[in-house]
Structure formats: structure tokens, C-alpha cells
């Protein structure tokens, strides 16, 4: 009940603040100018607020509980992405003056056709990234209200859709900054209080020793709402009471037995190793605690591929770029990014606590495979009673804030791209061009949600962390080379960029699809299929360089380089490469 109130409070508060902020921004003339007066600290908190998604809030802890501490590399990579952004992209891109990736592609390479390709990439990546957000929302709503997963996804997808269509939240720096601190509070305070309450990490044998996750000293009682296929890692007896009550049936499973548990109430005796959902693996404490080493998702190849994807992928996430526009100039963009690194580092200290405690205190999540909900369920399990309920409400509210801010940002990118790039252009300069654009943006905000919701229905069983890893791999294989070469190499041509983006995107997608179709084969090949960045990123770079060198469409990019790299304060004339920005739906929506 407290949790429902907290989630509702966050939602209404966010939507309300956003709507109020929009009204204020509209009446004080220029939204953009207003937001440019924002200090680097506010800006950094806003960027971090939009960036910290369901993947950071729920996904890292869930994947850590499931796959072990190797998942913690994700938080390193998510932060490192901003270092890459700072070193190679932040200041030049701010100077260049493009608000979206398609804008940059068109203006830098003087190619309207490249704009179309970039728009397609934006839709693909934001779609990939939106699915895990919706999944997180469906899970959260399910934990809080008991609503079925599908209902949660649908309800929250609609809320975000309507919010974006009505123009809430986006562009309001202070709302996003507030969301950041809400998320830090919601992840840090329960983590610290739980650690103090438990007196440190409990049951070290299960965490770092040879034990498998197992039932506590009083056994384990797990209600199963649907039949659940599982694998028993060790032989054990168990009992199942049918859903309507009645006599419990006793069973015995041998080690390695694959059983489909019927719906009902499962009882495991004290100390029995819990069965794990089919498709996942039971890990001993030692395996679980190994950040690198071994095969599959603990192999060094996988870890490096993941780090590369997140390091280079962050700059290619479509909803990140526009945020840099609230900086007045290049040096301010640098200062803001430095602060973002500090703020993200603060946040990422905490998710790991939940995965570790969850392994000991909520082993039933291994049975249902719902490890993504560990952040939400842990407080009640670790501290039964009012305190646990309140802390659970706090993490639920934080998860909702994470989900709302990121998916709104993503949907704005999707709708902006659909209404501006995909839809045939409005005849120039008619009297009601603005109104037509706004209407299109609103329709797109609803339509743009349909595909991600549909995919999210089917993605129920896939870890949030994995889904997000793919979005980063795609971004790193397409837009990252476009930015790095486009900014630092005058020789990049439109055909080179196009071939490189297609090559990188196709290889990354093929790897992901093949990995799914082959059920994540083992060995180095399996690791590279699950996280293809280590292959697809070099291919994209090479393709761009080779095709650019061979193409005959050479043009002198002096004006573009000047716009990208010339420091402020030289009173240089506007050279016409900056896309004139109309304060249309993309900024105001």
C-alpha cells in the first residue's frame, strides 16, 4: 500500500512538475534560452537523471544476482561512456549545433540521404532501449500492485505516451535533476540501512564460498502462480500444495533433474539448494564472486566486448545528445560532463549491494527467474515489517523515476524522428506549419510506443541487462564511428559513413539474433554473439575509412571542421553549417 502511494506520488509529481515547468517555460518566451542559464551542476544532474534507466536501477542488481559479479562491469562501462563522450564528442558537438543525430549526419556530410539512414538507426536503437524500460515498468508494477506483467507494460507505456504527447517533462532540466537525486536516494538509503540492519554481508559461504543459493534455516515457501520449468542443481525433496489448498504432494528430485513445477505453493526443506529457472545456471559462491574468468559471460572476451559497447555506445544513444544543448558553449559542455562522471560514480556504488544480499535473502527469485525484481523485493525480505515496507516503497519509487525519465526521453527521440524525418515534409512555410508539426509529433508519440510495447510482451524472460547491452552494442557500431570520424577526420564521406553504419549495424544485429537462435552457445564465439561489439565496432570503423578513401565525392570540410573545433569568442561568422533550429515539437514536446 505504501509502495503504491510512493509510485503514484512519483508519477503524478513528475507529470505535474513537467506540465507546470512547460507552462512556465512557454510563457517566459524561449525554453532554450531559459535552460541555457542552467549551471553545470544542475545540467549534470539532469543528464544523469535522464541516463539512469531501469537497466541501472533494476538491471545491474538483477544480472548480478543471476550471472554473478561479472555484471558489475556494466556499471563501469555505463560511467566510462561519459569519459569517451567527454574526450571526443562533448565540446565539438556542442559547437557544431546539431540537436539530433540525423541533424549531425546531414549537416556534417552535406547529405540529406544520410539523414534517412541515421533516422532509421535512431528508431532501431531507441526501440531496443525502450523495451527493457517497459519490461522494468511491468515488473515494478507487478511487484507493487500484483498486476500481471502485460497489464503493467501496457499501462505504463500509455502513461509515458500520453505524457510525451501532451508535452510534459522533456526539456525541463530541473525535473530531470530532481529525478537524479531521487534515484540516488532511493538506491543508496535502503542499501545502507539494510547493510547496517544485517550487520554487513550475511552468509559469506553462499556469496564467496562453495555453497549454492539455498533455502534458509526454516526452509523456503514459494507461491507459484504458473507452472515453472526448473533445473535442480542437487538432489532434494520438496512438497507442492495445489493452488486451492488441500494435501501437499511430496516429491524427490535428483541432481540435474529438469522438472516443470506445477502452480501451487512450493516448499523446500531447510538448507536445500534452490532449483533455478530453466535457461539459467546455478552458480556456486566462488563462481558467482568471480568478476572475470571462465567461459561465456564471465570470459574476458565478453567483459571487454561489453566494456567496449558501453564505452563507445553511450555517445550514440539518441536521447543523450540533445541534453548537451543546454550548455552555453563547448567548455561548459566539458565541465558538465566531468560532473556527470562524478554523479554517476556515486550512484553506481550501490546497485551491487542488492544483487549480493538478494543471493542470500531472496533465493526464490532464482526459481521464477525474476531476479530483475531483486531491488524491489529485497527490503521486505531482509527487514520484515514496517521498515521493510517503507524501504521497498522507496526503491519502487526510484525504479519508477528511472523508468519514467529515460523512456520519456527515448519516446521524444522516436516521435521527433517519426514526425520530422520519416513523415513526408510539410509544404514549406504555410501558416499552420507549427500546428501540423505538433499534431504529427503527438500522433507519433502514440504510434512510436506500439512496437516497443509489443516486443516487451515477448521479452518477459530476457534480462533487462542483456537487452540494454544490445542497444549499446548497436549504438557503438553505428553512431559512434559516425561521430568519432565525422568530428576528427575531415576525410569522412557520406557514402563511407553510410556503408560503415550499415555494416556495423548488420553485424551487431546478426550476432544478437544468432546468439538468441542458438541459445547462447558457449566459448568465445558464444560470448561474441551475446555481445558483438568487439567485432562489429572495428568493422564499422574500417568500412567507413576504406569506403571514404575510395569514394570520389571528396569535398573540403573546412567549414565543418571550423564549426566543430574553433573555440568560442573569435566572433567568427556563422558559416551556414548549423542546422537552423526551429523551436518545434522536438524541443518543446
Amino acid at each position: 500500500m505504501i509502495a503504491i502511494l510512493a509510485v503514484a506520488g512519483v508519477t503524478v509529481g513528475t507529470l505535474g512538475l513537467g506540465a507546470l515547468g512547460m507552462r512556465l517555460a512557454r510563457t517566459t518566451s524561449d525554453l532554450l534560452v531559459a535552460s541555457r542559464a542552467v549551471t553545470p551542476w544542475w545540467n549534470a544532474a539532469a543528464i544523469s537523471g535522464e541516463y539512469l534507466s531501469a537497466a541501472s536501477f533494476l538491471g545491474i542488481a538483477g544480472l548480478e544476482m543471476q550471472n554473478g559479479t561479472t555484471a558489475l562491469w556494466q556499471s563501469v562501462g555505463f560511467t566510462a561512456g561519459y569519459l569517451a563522450l567527454l574526450l571526443f564528442v562533448a565540446a565539438p558537438l556542442r559547437r557544431f549545433g546539431s540537436y539530433t543525430i540525423p541533424d549531425f549526419a546531414e549537416a556534417r556530410l552535406r547529405s540529406p540521404r544520410l539523414r534517412g539512414l541515421a533516422s532509421f538507426g535512431v528508431l532501431l536503437i531507441t526501440g531496443f532501449y525502450l523495451v527493457p524500460q517497459l519490461k522494468g515498468a511491468g515488473l515494478t508494477l507487478g511487484v507493487v500492485t500484483g498486476a500481471p506483467y502485460f497489464a503493467g507494460v501496457l499501462a505504463v507505456g500509455l502513461v509515458v505516451s500520453v505524457n510525451v504527447a501532451l508535452g510534459g517533462m522533456r526539456g525541463i532540466t530541473y525535473v530531470q535533476a530532481f529525478q537524479f537525486w531521487l534515484k540516488v536516494f532511493a538506491i543508496a538509503v535502503p542499501a545502507c540501512l539494510l547493510l547496517i540492519h544485517l550487520g554487513g554481508l550475511p552468509a559469506r559461504a553462499a556469496l564467496f564460498g562453495d555453497r549454492l543459493p539455498s533455502a534458509g534455516p526454516h526452509g523456503l515457501v514459494v507461491p507459484l502462480s504458473a507452472p515453472q520449468p526448473v533445473t535442480f542443481p542437487t538432489s532434494t525433496s520438496y512438497a507442492i500444495t495445489p493452488p486451492g489448498g488441500g494435501a501437499a504432494h511430496q516429491f524427490h528430485a535428483v541432481a540435474g533433474a529438469r522438472v516443470t513445477l506445477p502452480a501451487g505453493v512450493l516448499r523446500l526443506p531447510a538448507g536445500a539448494a534452490v532449483p533455478v529457472a530453466t535457461g539459467t545456471q546455478a552458480l556456486s559462491g566462488r563462481e558467482w564472486a568471480t568478476p572475470v574468468g571462465g567461459s561465456g559471460e564471465r570470459s574476458p572476451v565478453f567483459v571487454y566486448s561489453l566494456l567496449l559497447a558501453t564505452f563507445l555506445g553511450t555517445m550514440g544513444l539518441p536521447h543523450i545528445l540533445v541534453r548537451f544543448y543546454t550548455n552555453p558553449d563547448g567548455p561548459a559542455a566539458r565541465r558538465t560532463t566531468v560532473r556527470v562522471l562524478g554523479l554517476l560514480g556515486l550512484f553506481y556504488l550501490f546497485p551491487g549491494v542488492y544483487g549480493a544480499l538478494g543471493r542470500v535473502l531472496t533465493p526464490q527469485l532464482y526459481i521464477t527467474g525474476a531476479t530483475d525484481t531483486v531491488v524491489l523485493r529485497l527490503p521486505q525480505a531482509a527487514w520484515p515489517g514496517t521498515v521493510g515496507n517503507v524501504l521497498g516503497a522507496v526503491t519502487a519509487a526510484g525504479a519508477f523515476a528511472a523508468f519514467l525519465s529515460t523512456s520519456s526521453g527515448l519516446l521524444v527521440s522516436i516521435s521527433g524522428t517519426i514526425s520530422h524525418d520519416v513523415w513526408p515534409r510539410v509544404a514549406r512555410e504555410s501558416a499552420n506549419t507549427g500546428a501540423i508539426r505538433r499534431r504529427r509529433f503527438r500522433i507519433a508519440a502514440v504510434l512510436g510506443m506500439v512496437a516497443p510495447i509489443t516486443v516487451a510482451f515477448f521479452a518477459h524472460g530476457i534480462d533487462i541487462g542483456l537487452l540494454v547491452g544490445w542497444a549499446f552494442a548497436l549504438a557503438a557500431s553505428t553512431f559512434c564511428p559516425l561521430f568519432l570520424l565525422g568530428i576528427w577526420w575531415p576525410g569522412l564521406t557520406a557514402s563511407g559513413a553510410a556503408v560503415g553504419m550499415v555494416a556495423g549495424g548488420v553485424v551487431a544485429t546478426a550476432g544478437i539474433v544468432a546468439g538468441l537462435a542458438l541459445h547462447e552457445p558457449s566459448g568465445i564465439a558464444g560470448a561474441l554473439l551475446a555481445q558483438p561489439a568487439l567485432v562489429s565496432v572495428p568493422i564499422a570503423f574500417l568500412a567507413m575509412i576504406i569506403v571514404s578513401r575510395r569514394s570520389t565525392e571528396r569535398f573540403v570540410a573546412d567549414a565543418e571542421m571550423l564549426a566543430l573545433h574553433a573555440p568560442e569568442g573569435l566572433d567568427l561568422p556563422d558559416l551556414g553549417v548549423r542546422d537552423p533550429f526551429v523551436l518545434g515539437p522536438r524541443a518543446a514536446g
Binding site: V76, R334, M561, P567, D571, L572
Partner: protein, 110 residues
């Protein structure tokens, strides 16, 4: 070394503004300095953080030795990254701003 200013009274700023070959040369030099700086920072990042997975993989004792009840390997994933990022970022941003400032001085002088 800065390129020689042309014989007439045009300033480097004019060369930049008119995107002449001279101007492009000035700018290219700045671009290359900035890129060198960024790559330097990248190498430092690789040396300080990028080697961690390899080190943990190759040195099993990092997984056996515990510090405050937690294997050192796990500490290495959680703790060092953020301070290193922040330190690198601060140093880089300061130096990059200085390069921009130097360029501004160069271009403005008569």
C-alpha cells in the same frame, strides 16, 4: 610552431573566418593537439581501468584474498573506476580548455 602570418595585415582570425588555406592550417593544428590530448587520456584510461579485467583473469589470487570479507577482485570492479574517471576527466578538461585558450590568443594577436 605557429604558421607564419601572411604578408598583408590580415589577422589569423580573418583567415579562419574566410576559411582560407591558412585558416584551415591553423585549425588543423588545434584539432591535432586536441586529438593527441584525448588519445593520451584514452591511453591512461586503458592503462588504469582497461587492464583490470585482464589482471583479475590472470591473477587468481585476487579472487582468493579477501579484504573486509570481500574478495579483492570484487573491490577492484566497484571502487577504483569512478575516482580514476573523475581524475582523468578533470585533468583532461583543464588541459583542453587551455589548448582552446592558447589558440584564441594566437588567433587574436596582430
Amino acid at each position: 610552431m605557429a604558421p607564419q602570418p601572411p604578408a598583408d595585415s590580415r589577422t589569423p582570425r580573418d583567415e579562419l573566418a574566410d576559411t582560407t588555406a591558412h585558416g584551415a592550417l591553423y585549425l588543423q593544428r588545434l584539432r591535432q593537439r586536441q586529438l593527441t590530448l584525448s588519445i593520451l587520456a584514452l591511453v591512461a584510461f586503458g592503462a588504469l581501468v582497461g587492464v583490470l579485467p585482464l589482471a583479475i583473469d590472470l591473477l587468481p589470487q585476487l579472487r582468493r584474498v579477501h579484504l573486509l570479507g570481500i574478495p579483492v577482485a570484487i573491490w577492484l570492479v566497484i571502487v577504483p573506476a569512478s575516482p580514476v574517471f573523475l581524475a582523468l576527466a578533470v585533468l583532461y578538461a583543464r588541459r583542453a580548455d587551455t589548448l582552446d585558450e592558447d589558440f584564441r590568443e594566437l588567433v587574436r594577436r596582430r
